[in-house]
């Protein structure tokens, strides 16, 4: 059986960029930058890109290319059972993320339709929480299924699993070759319209105004490293899986540079578009940009609908393009997240791709119904916080420590990357991976653990978002712990005998 392979280099890069560019680029980066020194944030941000983001991308591309397998198979080939669990841990982190990420794409899809007649009305916050999500239950309760979310959710899974069923080249590559250029063109149109609005300069001033005193604060550097880390789809098992489909002669290092810079280019564009639009809104309402600036769900589904309401003309078209770009960015990321467990199950159990997609994707789709209920937003918020902080970030930290320090594979991987790449990796790569990344991620993890264990959040309960101990434990801690427990359990199971059909590369 021939192992799947990308058709072209551009196809692989589009898929990797499609995975990295997601909802976070549009709704997370602009606010993180604004909140951490404005224009001055670019200094720690670029430093983090070059000393953590791109080095880890190169590491994961090299692992996938050399060991030619999904994350579990690649780590198994690298260090046997002692390392395989790490691959499964990353795969189950991806599984959890896919189940709620699909729901957010479903919201964006629904808002694309709402845009035509601005169905959200004048009170966009009330519309989102009370009318659309029907958030009438307490955290921890599910309530009934919200059909307005459930129906687009089914559509999201049909599209994603349909693409994955078509295979790597005819499915993922083809979809990204269409979705990514379309996303860039649509988003450029949104940004061009935003920067020509009244008050756009005011927003751009707020976004780029440098506060150089901020870069002396450790929290700003942690924010920069944290953002780069979450933004690039590293430690998700994605980049290992995607690079395992590369042909033998592939320039790994430059592919990582293109992917990293393309992701940053898109989020810089997003920052310009979002803050230009916020400047317009602040001008219309006669308030400061800081008063309307927001990030996350609030920015996309509360603030942007308000901005669209205040548009001088073509409100529907602007809203349609904005939410369509969110949908496309989300879909290209979701298919990459889902591919991690499809590839893992296929190789471990020797089942066909079709069965892996239908079983793995089908199970994820079923579980995602939980997030399409009346209390779904609370579950989503808590799972997202815990799986990102104690899943993705923890996998990344453990990955660099085990690969570089415990199994001492950095030189071997460097030699493999240098043999096939045009840009040779120097000492900076090993220093970045072995020293800078573990220190920054370790410091970040320590702060997060301390804050959660000692309940130091500025909320009534001291927990994240003021959730109760019971809900925090069952909806957050248990979910993040389950990813590692399933990771260990799956690594105990025997490999199907056919996993050696496609050998690792020398």
């Amino acid at each position: 059986m021939e192992r799947s392979q990308w058709g072209t280099r551009a196809g692989f890069i589009m898929a990797a960029v499609g995975s990295a560019v997601g909802l976070g680029n549009i709704w997370r980066f602009p606010y993180v930058a604004f909140d951490n020194g404005g224009g001055a944030f670019f200094i720690p941000y670029l430093f983090a890109l070059l000393t953590a983001g791109i080095p880890i991308l190169i590491l994961e591309f090299t692992i996938g290319h050399k060991y030619r397998g999904s994350a579990p198979l690649s780590f198994f080939r690298m260090g046997g059972k002692k390392l395989e669990w790490l691959g499964w841990w990353a795969v189950f982190v991806s599984f959890v993320i896919s189940v709620y990420y699909a729901v957010i794409i479903a919201w964006a899809m629904r808002y694309t339709i709402f845009s035509f007649n601005q169905a959200w009305g004048t009170d966009t916050q009330d519309f989102l929480f009370n009318e659309f999500l029907q958030l009438t239950v307490s955290p921890g309760q599910t309530g009934g299924v919200v059909w307005g979310v459930f129906i687009p959710l089914v559509l999201v899974w049909i599209i994603t699993l349909g693409i994955l069923l078509a295979g790597v080249q005819k499915g993922i590559e083809m979809a990204n070759r269409i979705f990514i250029p379309t996303l860039v063109i649509i988003f450029l149109a949104v940004v061009i319209r935003a920067v020509t609005l009244d008050g756009a300069a005011l927003g751009l001033e707020a976004f780029f105004q440098p506060d150089f005193s901020a870069i002396m604060e450790p929290s700003v550097w942690v924010a920069a490293y944290g953002h780069i880390f979450f933004s690039l789809s590293v430690a998700f098992a994605i980049m290992i899986t995607y690079s395992s489909y590369l042909p033998k002669k592939s320039d790994i290092t430059n592919n990582a540079f293109i992917t990293g810079f393309a992701n940053s280019s898109f989020e810089l564009l997003a920052g310009i578009g979002v803050f230009a639009a916020l400047g317009f809104m602040a001008t219309q309402e006669g308030v400061a940009v800081a008063d309307v600036a927001a990030g996350g769900v609030g920015l996309a589904f509360v603030v942007f609908p308000q901005i669209i309401n205040e548009f001088p003309s073509f409100n529907g078209l602007f809203g349609f393009l904005f939410f369509l770009s969110l949908t496309l960015a989300g879909l290209t990321s979701l298919m990459s997240i889902t591919e991690t467990y499809v590839a893992g199950f296929t190789e471990k159990f020797g089942i066909s791709r079709r069965k892996a997609v239908l079983f793995g994707g089908g199970l994820a789709a079923l579980i995602s119904i939980l997030f399409a209920t009346q209390g779904g937003l609370f579950f989503l918020d808590l799972a997202d916080y815990f799986i990102n902080q104690f899943g993705v970030a923890a996998v990344g930290l453990v990955e660099v420590i085990l690969v570089v320090w415990v199994f001492r594979k950095a030189d071997l991987l460097k030699a493999h990357a240098n043999e096939i790449s045009d840009i040779n990796l120097g000492a900076w790569w090993k220093v970045s991976l072995g020293i800078i990344t573990p220190i920054v991620l370790g410091y970040m993890m320590f702060g997060l653990l301390k804050m959660n264990i000692l309940q130091e959040f500025d909320t009534e309960t001291g927990n994240y978002e003021g959730y109760s101990n019971m809900f925090t434990l069952s909806g957050g801690v248990a979910v993040a712990s389950a990813a590692i427990v399933f990771g260990i359990l799956f690594s105990i199971a025997k490999w199907h005998k056919n996993q050696n059909e496609y050998d690792e590369r020398s």
Partner: protein, 43 residues
């Protein structure tokens, strides 16, 4: 917009978009060189 904001915006664009352009240019250039070297070797 103030001069410092414009300066930061321009530097940010040059570094990020310039980095992307340079890495794509490098890929296209080396790809072309490899193709022409392969063609020469096949003569």
């Amino acid at each position: 917009m103030s001069a410092s904001s414009i300066l930061v915006m321009v530097i940010g664009m040059v570094l990020v978009w310039g980095g992307l352009a340079a890495s794509i240019f490098h890929a296209v250039n080396t790809g072309r060189k490899k193709r022409s070297s392969n063609a020469t070797n096949n003569l």
